[in-house]
Amino acid sequence: MHLNHSISIFTGNLPPSKALFLRLENAFLLCNTYEIIEVISQKENIETELRGWAKLRGHIYLGRERLKQQYSYKIQKIKKDSFLQKASWGKKMQGIDIGNPKLKDLNLSDEILSIAPQNNGLLTRGIVVEENSPIYDFELSHKEQVWSNPVSILYEEGKSLQWNATTDIAWNEIPDLNPVLERAICQIMTYLVENEFSALYIPAKFISKINPYYMEVPLFLSSLMNDEARHIEVFTKRANANGGGFQYSSGVTQRSLFSLFKEDDYIKSSFLLHVMGEGTFVDLLSFLEKYMPDEATKKIIRLAKRDEMRHVAYGIEHVKSAIEQNPNRINALKNTAFKRKEFMDEINGESSILLEALAILAAGSDEPNAYKRGFDLLEELKEKMNENRVKRLVNIGIDEDLANDISKAHTPNFM
């Protein structure tokens, strides 16, 4: 018998055992169809076991040859290949040498496909998947549905700008405030917590639908969720920091957040949440930072705003690239904004509880004249929010007239 083999496995004195079969299993898994594998063993007679194993696995046992000190057993693979590609080897990523390997420096594949391979399961680009692995059917498997160009950079930024809601805030420096003002702040914090829950839960709804072939996106969204969790924590702590506590949730706020939460299309949701909602939220946070009476609370707002701006940047790039790929999407986005407005219009009004609290904060008191001034500042804020929304809408590729219409249709809840 003379049969060419390309792979030899040296098994020394290993008896037929789990350890031996494991090595065989993997050698056959990774070799090509019709390849012959030689098992070199000191064991004189393990033919029964090797033959039996080969039979069960659908391979062919070819026979045994005596070598000098040991025995050569040969088995041929006749099954189809289990892996259609070979895994990479000898690749070293940039930035390792200087101890600074960034996500953007990963070169997992030559290109990022516009549709993820159908067999891409819970794994990402560059991992060689075994044939017949389960098909997950991720709903979001197109690049244009999820990708945002700076996502790797934003992810790194998100990590380097992490902060700690326990130790980074000078909690003990929050002064005792006038109860009217403190109550307004507690009301605002209550509202912020509600909104941050929407920003935490909505991406959570989508992460498991995003094809992990586009690994950077779920990673970024996880960091975003971590940000939102921290915001919920810090606003909750602030509401409870000074003898107040949570206040009231208005039906309008919940209705608005509900209309955001129930959106099932990822691009539409990203548009409503990051571009429209968090974008407007950033303006609100600027307003809060400006009028917050103490430094510690100002810092809370400032740090949260910094995170939110990153989320808005992701959303803008995401929706912008989705529109670039398919300009017809503008209509769908317009419709979703208008549909949300219709839903909100079923009940009238704004959150009176929140608006009064904001006016009192801006005024620093509930004295009638001051309150009126605060209320005027709030109207200015709304105008500012509208202007900035229009800018963002133009930025993602919507013409100005339509941008004005869409912006005006935005929910009075800000988010």
Partner: protein, 276 residues
């Protein structure tokens, strides 16, 4: 609507339902109506096949031999698993027992599995007789008739034999090759604690059996559709892994020879009649 092809199968494990649902769906998708009936033992299934209540039976080798003999050779083996061909029995003992051949079994306790299991009892007994002749009386044979009616499908009696080799109640015993590889793969014994000292000649295991009276076109269709199953289709792959095969193969004259030794053994051991 034409009557479906009714296939019988013995439900020796809950996974049988999953396996047969996959096969049934596959046939139905190919436009061939097929349904299955589960039996709790092979004797009942043989009875149903012989009396025409089912069209095709998924038979063990023992059930095949019985059907063939009891039908006066008016039965056909259609298709089998690749793993059914060249099946073997192995005799095993603890490495330290010093048993190196069948001759060494004299004066020892030897375990056989269920009386209706070809691999664990019927054939091993024949091989012992062939090798030892009269002096087989010097071997103390202990039978483990667990799970009768399943013809060794569950492997329970083989595991009973193994258990008693492990705790030194037996010196040696007989099991099928697939059980042997499986226990080695699953490390049920410490490495090298147990070894095989005899491997039988190859014989054949299960097959799909039909009577000659079944319409030829039905047999043909059944065989064609079964053979068309692609082991690379994920759902088929899953079914094949559960059923323990890599591909379906035709049963030809060559494979039928693999039943000769069993037929002989069953006749010698008076196992042809079907007591249900």
């Amino acid at each position: 609507m034409t009557k479906p092809i009714i296939v019988g199968s013995v439900a020796y494990d809950p996974k049988i339902v999953t396996i047969w649902d996959i096969i049934r769906d596959y046939f139905n998708e190919k436009g061939v109506r097929l349904d299955y009936i589960l039996f709790s033992n092979y004797e009942a299934q043989i009875e149903y096949l012989l009396s025409g209540k089912i069209d095709i039976a998924w038979n063990t080798n023992v059930a095949w031999v019985r059907t063939y003999e009891l039908s006066n050779h008016k039965a056909q083996a259609l298709v089998m698993r690749d793993t059914d061909i060249d099946f073997k029995s192995v005799f095993i003992s603890k490495t330290k027992s010093g048993i190196k051949s069948i001759q060494d079994l004299k004066g020892k306790k030897f375990g056989l599995g269920s009386a209706d299991s070809a691999q664990a009892a019927i054939l091993p007994l024949k091989y012992l007789q062939n090798e030892l002749g009269e002096s087989i009386k010097d071997v103390e044979i202990i039978r483990y008739n667990s799970d009768l009616g399943k013809h060794g499908d569950t492997g329970r009696s083989e595991f009973d034999v193994l258990e008693d080799i492990k705790n030194d109640k037996l010196d040696a015993g007989a099991i099928g090759i697939s059980t042997w590889v499986r226990i080695l793969e699953e490390s049920l014994f410490s490495d090298g604690e147990i070894e095989s000292f005899y491997t039988s000649e190859g014989y054949c295991h299960c097959n799909f059996t039909a009577l000659d009276s079944l319409d030829k076109s039905i047999k043909k269709r059944f065989v064609e559709v079964l053979l068309s199953q692609d082991p690379n289709d994920p759902i088929i792959k899953k079914m094949m892994q559960m059923e323990g095969l890599n591909r379906w193969v035709l049963t030809t004259k060559e494979e039928l020879k693999g039943y000769d030794v069993l037929t002989e053994a069953m006749k010698e051991q008076d196992l042809i009649k079907n007591n249900w």
